[in-house]
């Protein structure tokens, strides 16, 4: 479904992505991990062209994201994205956050969008906060709303860019629970995270990145059982032994 083919990206002379290639099949959950600055967030943002890249291509259901003829807004509306810092719209209520793009992009009626928003808020346990503003919610609650906002567009895949790393520890699980639920329903997901528990529980594959390269791309059990590269072993030993 998502196909990343040999993409490279430079900031000036600094190369942040080096010939990265991978595939995410329909219904697959792929976790992307690696030390900070390894390019994993940049890689995931290339999937919906939030970050431009200079070489290679990304296709979603066969449609190239770098082709100038592609209707990017249309393509992006089919891919949900959840950000590290939630990025809810602070001047809108929770419900308005969920209905804005449904109405503007998908052309749904206010009632239809509202009903969809209500159902999704219920699902992430946020229906009682529907009329609150994001600033009145905790980080975990905001992130659950952000996931619901992505789901409101009926996406064919969801991208998560470090969805729990800005959260207080006690709020991480409420967000991960929603994500695990999604994975079990067969949502196609690409998740940048350090949550190795989540990875081992629901990921089909783990991609390990370092210095802009995809160093390892292996089925979850293989990755945790016997990572081939030294860099991945080193990373795992640091992240798991705490």
């Amino acid at each position: 479904m998502i196909s990343i083919q040999n993409i490279s990206k430079w900031y000036g002379t600094f190369q942040v992505l080096k010939n990265c290639s991978t595939e995410v099949a329909k219904g697959e959950v792929v976790v992307v991990c690696g030390p900070s600055g390894s390019g994993k967030s940049t890689l995931i943002k290339c999937v919906n062209a939030l970050e431009p890249f200079q070489q290679g291509d990304v296709t979603v259901n066969g449609i190239s994201v770098s082709d100038p003829k592609t209707d990017l807004p249309r393509l992006r509306s089919q891919i949900g994205m959840v950000f590290q810092h939630f990025e809810l719209f602070p001047h809108m209520t929770v419900t308005e956050n969920l209905t804005l793009a449904q109405i503007k992009v998908l052309g749904r009626s206010r009632e239809e969008a509202g009903a969809k928003a209500h159902a999704l808020l219920k699902r992430v346990g946020m229906e009682v906060h529907a009329e609150k503003f994001p600033g009145q919610l905790s980080g975990g609650q905001q992130q659950r709303v952000a996931i619901a906002r992505g789901l409101a567009m009926d996406p064919i895949a969801m991208l998560f860019d470090e969805p729990t790393s800005a959260l207080d520890p006690e709020m991480i699980n409420e967000v991960l629970d929603v994500m695990v639920g999604l994975a079990h329903e067969g949502m196609t997901m690409m998740v940048v995270t350090h949550e190795m528990g989540f990875a081992s529980k629901v990921a089909n594959r783990v991609i390990f990145m370092d210095e802009g390269e995809i160093v390892e791309d292996a089925p979850t059990n293989d990755f945790f059982g016997k990572p081939r590269s030294e860099r991945a072993q080193h990373f795992l030993s640091k992240i798991l032994h705490h």
Binding site: L50, P73, R76, F83, L88, F89, H91, A101, V105
Partner: protein, 230 residues
Amino acid sequence: MFAGFDLDVIQRSLPYLFREGMTFTLTLTALAMSGGVVFGTLLAMMRLSSLGPLSWFAGGYVNLMRSIPLVLVIFWFYFLVPWIGGWIIGADRPIQVGAFWSSVITFTLFEAAYYCEIMRAGIQSIPRGQVSAGYALGLNYWQTMGKIVLPQAFRNMTPVLLTQTIILFQDTSLVYVLSITDFLGAASKVAQRDGRLIEMYLFVAVVYFIISFAASYSVRRLQARIAIVR
């Protein structure tokens, strides 16, 4: 010093000063503010655009306007607007614009340069992630700007925009050089007619002070309230 003061001249001319003069001043301020904010916001979006010519044009415009004294701009536009207007509609002679609309256009174009810089700061104060979130949902540039970035930018910048408007309110008195009957112009006409320069100019200063000070005070109160809500 105040012995020879004739305060009665003020009272006698109050209806004229306010009904004619202040009405003009406030109308001009309101129109120039609305037009200036709209045009200034467009300029700010152009300035921040990744399209070279757009940002170059907006940058040049803002720097030009901010480098010329307002009085000169008023003079130039007063003589130029009829010609430009004629050229735009394809007439072979300058069109009749009138002092009022000429000054509205002048102040709109001039203040837009200042509102542009305020809105540019406002737009830049919105985290990049907000734009990303809008795009990621499939919103296009105009929708992301109109629904996400600009509402927040306006909200953050309201106190500064209003402060600039208070400056605009005082600046409108410069239309006096075109012999327009704004508040200062009206007072000046009475002053010349009755030979009561000191009384009238003192009164004008007091009125400008009271209005501007009260407005600044309200802006400060508003600022405090916005700070709490955020």
